[in-house]
């Protein structure tokens, strides 16, 4: 029987409060305790592993996948000690994130350095951090001396245009808007034209948050994307789906529907400065073969980092913030 199956039949009663204690101890510590005096990795260890993965929002399927891979390695290599196990574990998850040759970015590079301008369309459900991520990314490009314009195609949410405008001012980049309650596809189209005419290196287009279940809003998004393509064939060069690390398994649905509507080509994972781990992206990256490009680690202009698989996986087991 697979380990996972066994777990769910387990009769042992857990002390809830104890279980909910925020764990300060690292996974490694826990592992050491669990295997103290034992020569092999036993089910208790895998049990603990499962606990960690699930509570990091990795999800059932991906957790099973990871555990099976570990089991496979353990069966093959036998008598692993704990530090070996630890590195194998991280290795396996990193691989899961990196299969199909998804490389981590080296820096804040343009999606397609061969064309000018690059158009980046930013999409996602409500409140995940799209606008903030755009501001932070614009800042990075700007610091590289690039000419950047932000396009305010969220014409719906109260004060959305103002919010992006303030970010453009902070960054000191260009800003294109037609005001509130205007056609977002037209804003996207004109922002692209603006970028072409004004010799911009990159245009980043903000869109209104929308739940992936709203059919009409998803159609609107497809239309926005098409209008960008009309203004510049081949654009957008990146459709970035922003996911909130606090989100649980629903992020998979989000990825599915946004991918269908706009062919998402990269992910940004925000709010990793909090206590949430964002483990759901492992499964998403694996399933959709989309690279995670950036992570948000705060509300400030500098709080964007290039995603690093190793550091991310490390953070799942450490109760600590990624990077920093």
């Amino acid at each position: 029987m697979s380990f996972f199956g066994k777990f769910f039949n387990k009769k042992k009663k857990e002390d809830l409060d104890k279980g909910l204690e925020k764990t300060k101890t690292s996974f490694l510590n826990k592992l050491s305790k669990a295997v103290a005096g034992k020569a092999t990795v036993d089910e208790e260890v895998l049990d603990e592993l499962e606990n960690i993965l699930i509570t990091s929002d990795v999800g059932l399927d991906t957790t099973v996948k990871i555990i099976e891979r570990i089991e496979g390695r353990v069966a093959k290599d036998k008598y692993l000690n704990i530090s070996e196990l630890n590195s194998i574990l991280k290795d396996e998850i990193v691989q899961l994130l990196g299969e199909n040759n998804i490389q981590d970015l080296e820096d804040y590079i343009l999606p397609n350095p061969d064309v000018k301008p690059n158009i980046i369309l930013v999409v996602g459900v409500n409140g995940v951090g799209k606008t903030t991520t755009i501001g932070k990314l614009a800042h990075q490009y700007k610091s590289q001396g690039k000419k950047v314009v932000l396009g305010a195609a969220d014409t719906f949410r109260a004060a959305a245009v103002d919010q992006l405008k303030i970010w453009a001012e902070r960054v000191g980049c260009d800003f294109y808007s037609k005001g509130m309650n205007t056609d977002p596809a037209a804003v996207a189209y004109e922002t692209t034209q603006y970028a072409i005419q004004n010799n911009c290196d990159v245009a980043i287009i903000d869109t209104a948050g929308r739940l992936h279940t709203k059919v009409n809003l998803m159609k609107e998004l497809s239309k926005i994307k098409r209008s960008v393509d009309k203004a510049m064939p081949g654009a957008p060069h990146d459709v970035m789906l922003v996911l909130d690390a606090t989100t649980g398994q629903n992020a998979i649905e989000q990825a599915t529907h946004f991918t269908n509507a706009t062919q998402v080509s990269s992910l940004a994972l925000t709010k990793l400065d909090g206590t949430a781990k964002g483990g759901v992206v492992i499964g998403i990256s694996d399933q959709f073969k989309i690279p995670i490009k950036y992570i948000g680690v705060g509300e400030g202009i500098d709080h964007l980092q290039v995603f690093n698989k190793k550091a991310f996986v490390e953070s799942l087991f450490e109760g600590e913030v990624v990077g920093n």
């Binding site: 769910f8 949410r157 004060a159 103002d162 709203k214 909130d244 649980g248 629903n250 909090g274």
Partner: protein, 455 residues
């Protein structure tokens, strides 16, 4: 994958037909399924374990008194009852007594605080005849003040801001003073989003709370939140000891296990459910609906119960006969609508049919569609009602006038009706059983379940 827990539970029980008692052994598999369903719904891992243990204890040895019910269904019922009870508890309303009443709104970044503040103001204006003032205490997020200002204007609530002031405690206090001077009877204080581990920001919210002594402190949490919900709910509770929880973005398809995690961890009631970006999409919390949602299942038991208690068997038989003979008329249609109305909201009813929940996700069913149908049928003569084929163009014209509908609408309606009649007739032939929306519903659903099962 975990779309239909009741089917899966039935699967777990299929080898146990005829078992009268639930035992540790025969429920092991279903306990596992329930756990998986909960975890897949983002219920915290530890809570899922603890909860299923409780369910197991409840279930053990329980005599299956309802002989007709399958052990799987009994198990579902136990889970549902337990979950509903857990989520419900005290159904406290919002406390806005005070002069003025003060509501403090807090939570993580982007959870929906500002939007909720506007919705609450709208709710108080329209449902409670209050005069609320929205106070902008988010001094950090770009355009946060503006956002609240736009919303205040939308819902026609008062709005208080101090754009130059970076001290939210001061702004909150002067907002309350402003309310007193200007005859506002409720103050809603919108605050900046903050992480529970951001000590400075948590100190700030605590200082705001201490300074303004709100009558009601609400913690706003995104229904899509995953495992972290427990940490945040707990940390905020320790600092501001909130009175209730607001669950936002429930208009999506998240299972919303966070609701259980939060309730379980802090025991505070969920007071409001936010269901959209528009200002009138605030709902009170229904524990039973939430329980169903988390389990991701149509509640087959309650549908069957409802259907059985509400449908008059005789009427159903009568209809069935008529349908068979293709004699279903407008009178029958009216009575069907009446039956459905008795059963409650159509959409929630359809959602209860296993498999339909997902299909219906993007479809809006408007109960008021029935109003239109009824008004058209009411404009027909008794003769026309029992003889649909009599209705010709001049009769249609009269019906159109009588019901205030256009000819187009009447034509479409008659056409739809004919089509429905044909379909029903076909259906009875095909299934060889009762048809229509009448008494057959319960049985037909059971049949669907079985066939799904065999697959």
């Amino acid at each position: 994958m975990f779309d239909n827990l009741s089917d899966r539970l039935e699967g777990a029980f299929k080898t146990l037909k005829g078992e009268g008692k639930l035992t540790e052994i025969n429920i092991a598999q279903s306990v596992k399924e329930i756990r998986r369903a909960l975890v897949a719904a983002d219920v915290n891992y530890q809570i899922a374990k603890d909860f299923t243990n409780r369910v197991k204890d409840k279930a053990l040895g329980q005599e299956n008194i309802l002989k007709s019910i399958k052990p799987g269904e009994l198990m579902v019922k136990i889970v549902m009852d337990e979950l509903t009870e857990l989520m419900g508890g005290q159904t406290a309303g919002i406390n806005i007594k005070g002069d003025p009443g003060v509501v403090l709104v807090a939570g993580l970044q982007g959870s929906g605080k500002t939007t909720f503040s506007g919705k609450l103001a709208h709710f108080l204006i329209t449902q409670r005849k209050k005069k609320p003032l929205l106070v902008a205490c988010d001094v950090y997020r770009p355009a946060a003040i503006n956002q609240l200002g736009v919303i205040a204007e939308q819902v026609k609530a008062g709005f208080y801001k101090e754009p130059e002031n970076k001290n939210p405690v001061e702004i909150a206090l002067s907002g309350i003073a402003f309310a007193k001077e200007n005859g506002y009877d409720v103050v809603i204080v919108d605050t900046a989003g903050r992480l529970s581990i951001d000590e400075a920001m948590m100190k700030e919210i605590s200082a705001i709370k201490n300074a303004i002594s709100p009558n009601e402190t609400l913690f706003v949490v995104d229904a899509m939140t995953g495992q972290d919900a427990v940490n945040t709910a707990k940390a905020f509770n320790e600092v501001i000891n909130y009175d209730g929880v607001v669950l936002t973005k429930m208009d999506g398809d998240t299972r919303g296990g966070a609701a259980l995690s939060v309730k379980y961890t802090v025991g505070k009631p969920i007071k409001f459910v936010s269901m959209g970006e528009k200002m009138d999409t605030l709902d009170i919390f229904h524990p039973d609906r939430m329980a169903q949602r988390i389990l991701g299942m149509g509640d087959i038991i309650s549908l069957v119960e409802k259907a059985q208690s509400q449908f008059d068997e005789e009427e159903a038989k009568r209809l069935e006969k008529k349908i068979r003979k293709n004699k279903f008329d407008f009178n029958d249609f009216l009575s069907q609508i009446g039956q459905i109305r008795k059963m409650g909201d159509l959409k929630s009813l359809i959602k209860m049919i296993p498999g339909m929940g997902k299909m219906m996700k993007n479809i809006d069913i408007d109960n008021s569609a029935f109003d239109k149908i009824e008004s058209i049928i009411f404009s027909m003569t008794p003769l026309e009602r029992s003889n649909p084929e009599l209705i010709n163009t001049s009769r249609k014209k009269r019906i159109a006038r009588g019901s205030g509908k256009s000819m187009e609408e009447i034509n479409r309606f008659i056409k739809d009706f004919e089509q429905m009649r044909k379909m029903m007739h076909k259906f009875t032939k095909m299934e060889g059983g009762p048809g229509g929306m009448g008494g057959g519903a319960g049985r037909r659903i059971k049949r669907r379940r079985k066939s799904k099962f065999r697959r």
